[in-house]
Amino acid sequence: MSVDLIAAVITAMTLAATPLLLAAIGELVTEKAGVLNLGAEGMMLIGAVVGFGAASLSGSAAVGIAAALLAGMAMALLFALLALTLLANQVATGLALTILGVGLSALIGKPFVGTPLPRLPQLNVPGLSDLPFFGPVFFAHDFLVYASIAAVFGVHWFLEKSRWGLVLRAVGESHDSAHAIGYPVIAIRYAATIFGGAFAGLGGAFLSLAYTPMWAENMTAGRGWIALALVVFATWRPFRALAGAYIFGGVTIAQLHLQGHGFDVPSQFLSMLPYLATILVLALISRDATRIRLNTPACLGLPFKPAQ
């Protein structure tokens, strides 16, 4: 394998991992607050179509990204209204959000089908991106790639080191206790859910603006569900979600390369490999049952109605 090919594989892996990572890191925060939003796929689709539409109407990728962020937040707000204020079942509401997202994005996207879009400008660091190997691998990506990595560090710091991160975790562990101490449980859960929606929207926008700059119905093709699974297998820890997303992206790309080399293994097996490898690795690194229990938000998916 030549150095160039390795660099190409790593670059492709980064691109494949980024939409998963963005959606997963948002969902991680939502779930840490005790809210189970299964609507990631729907929020990603809405983010993808709104981001694409805004970018193609305004001609600016930045406007597209901002619009996708807001659209994801709006979808999450809808979920929060139903599940947190009206106390609808969170699992059912999340599934409904996905179904709504699939249909609504197709409807919004009608006028944009078949229109191409110039690719998101890359953040080329002058000088650095021309370096052999390190240039393409580290310094020639789209803005959202760096944003996703920064978000992992940011979320880790927020959850582990900041006061409000502690409060958010407390709300997820025991909403009754948090409420008794006087924290606004519902408001915090709203914020966490909307944060999750924003990042799912960004994940969708990465697909429609950077990865394959176009709008196509159902273009997320199940990535929202993979992001949800990553959160669980990463036992709600940001750096493990990062590892999971990159393993998944890496094996996805590697299996395509193996096929191109005429590797004699059924391609269905190779297509399965990313799922298998990711589950295996994440299950191994977090095999300590006690720690899993400690990391799982105890109130995940449970409704909260403050006592009168």
């Binding site: 090919l5 492709a12 078949g114 697909l207 394959t212 196509a216 119905e217 395509l256 096929q259 059924p266």
Partner: protein, 358 residues
């Protein structure tokens, strides 16, 4: 109260049914069942253009309707039966997986005419039709042989069925007639439609040295990747030129309009008969979109000659000698492959790198 409501509702449904039957006597209702969205810009999109062509060809005499995103399975039967019940006289079911549901419904509605795309079972009121896509693959193979510099062509393949396999082989045979040392790298994405995965597959192939990308999947993502990397690409099912103005050399376009209009005409004139049509360039079912200006004039001339010779039956994409991947001869020099051997093709020929998933 509830009973009254139910009675009222069923009366309303009955009235609606009667109304639509009355209408059907004046006009021929033509129904379409699609497997994907009409906006996929590939397979279903082209079928819907065919539906619009019917409306245009018989103004006032036909009424068309369609149901999109119908999953292949139990739901399909329900949808097809629904169309038959609501007075449709001619129903097109446009995906391979609709075969058994179509046959079942057809048995229950002997007076309704059915047309099933890409299937192989016919009955007196179920006709089948498909297109010889491999003829298009032959012509783009010739062009690719002249345009590739590295001699490596990347092929983004969907699902391992004979239609896709014969496409890879027709392409490779033509490619190597122009460039004997050329190799075709095949990557299966195991999906007809997943833009992200198609893009990743194209990227992997480009990273492995391919400078021409061919696809047998439905989204324009591979063409887009080729454009970004300054490579060439061929589109699939419908014209994908605007997704890669520089990269896109031409697309194999499925054009069902002619067939759909002809069959509707037959149904209107009561001359419709069941049958099996497998049309190619000659019938207009397979077309090539406009050639990119980057293709030299002599190569365009060669491609056009090949297309005409296929129409005149002077040329056949599968003409021997042809060897399989192990080097064993599967077709003797000068011999042509028969239709049944193309329809059941399950091996790759020499020059293809990659395996058919078993």
């Amino acid at each position: 109260m509830l009973k009254t409501l139910v009675k009222l509702a069923s009366a309303a449904v009955a009235t609606a049914l009667v109304a639509s039957t009355a209408l059907a006597q004046d006009k021929l209702k033509v129904g379409f069942v699609y497997v994907g969205p009409v906006s996929d810009h590939g397979w279903t999109y082209e079928h819907d253009l065919g539906r619009k062509a019917i409306e245009k060809a018989f103004p006032g005499r036909v009424e068309t309707s369609f149901v999109e995103n119908v999953p292949e399975g139990a739901d399909a039967e329900r949808v097809i039966a629904q169309l038959a019940q609501t007075g449709h006289g001619l129903i097109f079911t446009t995906s391979f997986g609709f075969m058994n549901p179509t046959l079942k419904v057809a048995e229950r509605f002997p007076r309704v005419k059915f047309e099933h795309a890409t299937g192989y079972k016919q009955t007196p009121n179920v006709a089948t039709y498909a297109a010889r896509f491999y003829e298009g693959r032959h012509v783009i193979g010739l062009i690719a042989g002249k345009m590739t510099k590295t001699g490596i062509v990347g092929y983004v393949a969907s699902i391992p069925i004979p239609e896709v396999v014969s496409g890879v082989n027709a392409f490779t045979l033509a490619l190597r007639s122009q460039r004997p040392d050329a190799q075709v790298k095949v990557v299966w994405v195991n999906s007809w439609y997943d833009p992200g995965k198609e893009a990743a597959a194209a990227k992997a192939l480009l990273d492995q040295g391919a400078d021409v990308i061919v696809q047998h999947t439905d989204s324009p993502a591979p063409v887009q990747q080729a454009e970004q990397r300054g490579a060439y690409a061929f589109g699939q099912a419908s014209d994908m030129q605007r997704f890669g103005p520089k990269a896109h050399l031409t697309s194999i376009v499925d054009d069902w309009s002619g067939y759909y209009v002809a069959r509707t005409k037959a149904a209107l004139e009561k001359t419709w008969k069941s049958g099996d049509v497998w049309g190619g360039f000659d019938s207009g079912m397979v077309k090539l979109s406009s050639y990119n200006a980057a293709i030299p004039a002599d190569v365009v001339a060669m491609a056009e000659t090949a297309r005409k010779e296929i129409i005149e039956k002077k040329r056949h994409p599968f003409t021997g000698p042809m060897k399989d991947q192990s080097g064993k001869e599967v077709l003797a020099a000068g011999k042509r492959l028969e239709d049944k051997d193309i329809l059941t093709m399950n091996y790759f020929i020499e020059g293809v790198q990659g395996q058919i998933p078993k």
